[in-house]
């Protein structure tokens, strides 16, 4: 170094971040959990159970009830009764009070919810603490405000609830998805039977406990844990269900739509995606790099709207890829409960297998695979952050949803080409545009066929903003005033 007068320097010590784990002790895990039907926790009729595990360690967390057909009958019946006798007739202002109460209890018990979410899902505590739980509370607060103002929501003077909603949600944002589904349904006067994902039932069950604590009338919300092929399929097909809301894979979504065709049930679907994150040469480069990282590595890439295809203008492609690689070398992969962790565990073994096989396919098809050197824990389900370059639009890693921490880099030369490539997908959930030019942002947003277009940011969610897709990404919107339409007979 040039400042030679500073000579007496002590020995250099390597700079290390402390494993700063959030304490597990805040969560009181029970050895086994029942189904939440009619306001109380009950044993399943058939007595079937399964185990839920911590994907970061493969340690079993609890025994979970597996709902059967008899349980679905009971839950739908309880919900139907509650809708007709209590919740439907209740004035909106009264329903609002319950929703506000749920929102406040979520905030009060936020640390507990965050730790439990990270345990059961594998996501970093930084994300469950700063994103999942606050957004879940925000959704309840937001829709609580609508409950007594439905006649002013633009759906006619006397909008009425649909009835009983059967809601099936995925494992990537277990609590947040439950909130996205329950809050608008309840605000509009519907009652709900919620089927959380098989691998992530715990926060939905804690939410059921919170619902008990909020004194919600029995039967207004019911939670059925168990397999999608049994409880999920029986729930959506049940004649007592008036409205089906599903978030999950496109494959299941298609099956569902076929099964429900002609049944007269209302349906909304929020399915997969293969979003393009488009970086122009005039973008704010350092922030674009952060946005690319957040776009694909947030929640280990297990996000339906993840920016899994990076479209970068050819003139800056080398600079962007180089910087991206050096930034990825600073990502911290490991213990989800460590507050410094950026990338947690993949939620389940099946998903890890799917990621692995798609990545192998990408390599076989000639794309160049790169990961920073990072030690992965021995137990649990882990996948390193991965970047593919030399990707062409015809390869499977550029077309299929991987749902993991895997980014495919493609290039473009002109805005027209960027739009054409971005739209060249069967999906249409989200997209990102990075440019300092405001007019180009507006032009791109007009031409991109995606439900959400983020400008100079990515993966930002807000309860006031409608979220949903085009084409194979589904239909219907969640969030905002538009989110009410899915739960009103309009």
């Amino acid at each position: 170094m040039s400042n030679s007068y500073l000579t007496d320097q002590p020995e250099h010590v390597v700079w290390e971040y402390s494993p700063a784990p959030e304490s597990r002790s805040i969560v009181h895990l029970q050895p086994s959990y029942g189904l939440f039907i009619g306001g109380s926790f009950v044993e399943p009729v058939d007595g079937n159970t399964y185990r839920t595990e911590n994907p970061a360690t493969e340690e079993v967390l609890a025994e979970i009830a597996a709902a059967g057909l008899g349980d679905v009958d009971r839950a739908v019946e309880a919900a139907g009764r509650a809708q007709k006798t209590v919740w439907g007739p209740m004035p909106g202002a009264e329903r609002a009070k319950y929703l506000f109460r749920i929102a406040r209890i979520i905030q009060e018990r936020s640390r507990e919810l965050a730790v439990l979410e990270s345990l059961d899902n594998g996501k970093p505590i930084r994300e469950s603490r700063d994103v999942d739980v606050p957004l879940a509370a925000a959704h309840f607060f937001y829709y609580a405000g609508w409950a007594d103002k439905l006649e002013h929501a633009g759906f006619g003077p006397h909008p009425s609830p649909i009835g009983v909603a059967g809601q099936v949600i995925p494992w990537n944002f277990p609590l947040m998805m439950a909130a996205w589904k329950l809050a608008p349904a309840l605000a509009a006067g519907n009652t709900c039977v919620l089927k959380p994902a098989t691998t992530t039932p715990l926060t939905a069950l804690l939410l059921a406990e919170i619902i008990q604590q909020a004194d919600l009338p029995p039967g207004v919300v019911n939670v059925l844990t168990g397999a999608g092929s049994v409880a999920g399929a029986a729930l959506v097909a049940h004649p007592g269900i008036d409205k089906v809301a599903f978030t999950g894979s496109t494959e299941v979504g298609k099956d569902l739509q076929r099964a429900l065709a002609g049944k007269g049930k209302h349906l909304t679907l929020e399915l997969g995606g293969k979003a393009a994150n488009i970086v122009f040469e005039d973008a704010a480069l350092d922030q674009a790099i952060e946005g690319i990282v957040n776009g694909i590595f947030f929640n280990q890439g297990e996000v339906c709207c993840a920016g899994s295809r990076l479209l970068v203008q050819e003139s800056i492609a080398d600079a962007v890829v180089e910087r991206l690689k050096s930034r990825l070398s600073t990502l911290r992969v490991g213990d989800p409960l460590d507050k410094n962790t950026d990338l947690g565990a993949i939620n389940n073994a099946d998903q890890l297998e799917k990621i692995r096989s798609l990545v192998e396919e990408g390599e076989a098809e000639g794309a160049v695979r790169w990961s920073p050197s990072c030690a992965l824990p021995e137990h649990g389900y882990w996948f390193p952050p991965t970047v593919f370059t030399n990707v062409s639009p015809s390869q499977s890693i550029a077309r299929e949803e991987i749902f993991g921490p895997v980014l495919s880099v493609l290039t473009f030369r002109t805005p027209e080409e960027a739009v054409a490539k971005a739209n060249n997908t069967t999906y249409g959930l989200s997209a990102g545009v990075w440019t300092e030019k405001g007019s180009r942002i507006l032009w791109m947003a007009q031409h991109l066929r995606a439900g959400v277009v983020w400008a100079n940011t990515f993966n930002r969610f807000d309860p006031t903003s409608p979220f949903g897709g085009y084409r194979e990404s589904g239909f219907g919107r969640e969030g905002g005033r538009h989110g009410l339409a899915a739960y009103l007979d309009v």
Partner: protein, 350 residues
């Protein structure tokens, strides 16, 4: 389109743009002092004319305010391992430019500041001395005598600090006076008026002239980011200072609010990182004003580590301009060692 392409003479007509520099950049590692011939070669063309300079500065990638602030906020949540923390606290002590810049400064005040700088904790000789004391030019000889043999450098503000509103002749006289008095480091201010009215060439020339007047003394260039306001301006001013030959770029005078902030430091560190990639020269960063707690200081060190890497975790490349920060660092350090907080009175008033 075509006619535009026609005017581009094969070879090259204009100065290199930022992207072009990135492409021809040298690998990191070979530290070269700023102002050396290697840097000169690459950047000579940039400052060839006012128009070239402007084209270069406006060709730098922009900074998105929301994104930069979000990144800084997210880095602020990192926590450091206990063993690293003690190291980091001592490092922060060694990075301090212990500062007094008041109209009421006297020889007595400066001498007590120097005593504190040599031996920050009278009760514990293991505490390293700070990097430098930072004072007004007329007090440089006092500090120089008080610090003789200590290894602590004397830094002097100059160039009509803090406003910089004086003729170049006065500014250079100010610098020469401080250097003649024995200053090891000069903290100059840029002409923010010239910068904000787009006269970048003037700013660059002043930095270059001051650099020359510094002779052997190291030059820190104060951008006064609180008056530049936008992060785009901060990035451009950072490049101007570095191209002009700055050894350090510094956030603020401490006389304008806001002074140093985490996102401003982030943007400056990114500029320093990119400059090193282009030229191979390592330029230091000094954050000054408003950093009072050890916790704040460690947050800055996290940003340094994550943005430019461990090489910059050294007093030769990162400094804190502060006064009250020192005692909090000492207090946290003794807490790390003893497990209990000492009282405020256990640490000396400088």
């Amino acid at each position: 389109m075509d006619s535009e392409a026609m005017t581009t003479v094969p070879g090259r007509s204009g100065p290199p743009g930022w992207l072009e520099l990135q492409r021809t950049s040298r690998p990191l590692g070979g530290a070269v002092a700023a102002g050396s011939s290697a840097v000169g070669e690459v950047l000579a063309e940039v400052g060839r004319s006012e128009a070239d300079l402007r084209r270069f500065l406006h060709g730098l990638p922009g900074v998105d305010q929301v994104g930069a602030e979000a990144r800084a906020a997210s880095l602020a949540t990192r926590s450091i391992k206990t063993s690293s923390k003690l190291w980091a606290l001592e490092m922060a002590v060694r990075m301090i430019d212990l500062t007094t810049l008041e109209g009421a400064d006297t020889a007595g005040k400066v001498m007590s500041l120097c005593a504190k700088a040599r031996r920050p904790d009278p009760a514990d000789a293991a505490v390293p001395p700070v990097a430098a004391v930072c004072i007004y030019p007329d007090l440089v000889p006092v500090a120089k005598r008080a610090l003789a043999g200590s290894g602590v450098a004397v830094a002097s503000v100059a160039t009509a600090f803090p406003s910089g509103r004086a003729s170049i002749a006065v500014k250079l006289a100010d610098v020469r006076d401080a250097v003649a008095g024995g200053a090891d480091e000069i903290d100059m201010v840029i002409d923010r008026g010239a910068f904000l009215s787009g006269r970048y060439g003037l700013v660059l020339e002043e930095v270059q002239a001051v650099k020359e007047a510094c002779g052997q003394a190291h030059l820190k260039v104060i951008l006064e980011t609180g008056e530049l306001v936008t992060y785009d301006n901060v990035r451009r001013a950072s490049y101007l200072a570095m191209v002009g030959g700055a050894d350090f770029i510094k956030t603020s005078t401490g006389k304008v609010s806001p002074a140093a902030t985490l996102p401003v430091a982030l943007v400056m560190l990114e500029a320093v990182r990119d400059f090193a990639e282009i030229t191979g020269a390592f330029v230091g960063v000094k954050v000054a004003g408003g950093i009072r707690s050890a916790k704040d200081a460690l947050r800055y060190l996290v940003v340094v580590n994550e943005t430019v890497g461990e090489a910059w975790l050294d007093p030769s490349l990162f400094r804190f301009g502060a006064s009250s920060l020192l005692n909090d660092l000492l207090m946290q350090r003794s807490k790390q060692l003893s497990g209990a907080y000492a009282g405020r009175e256990d640490f000396s008033f400088e």
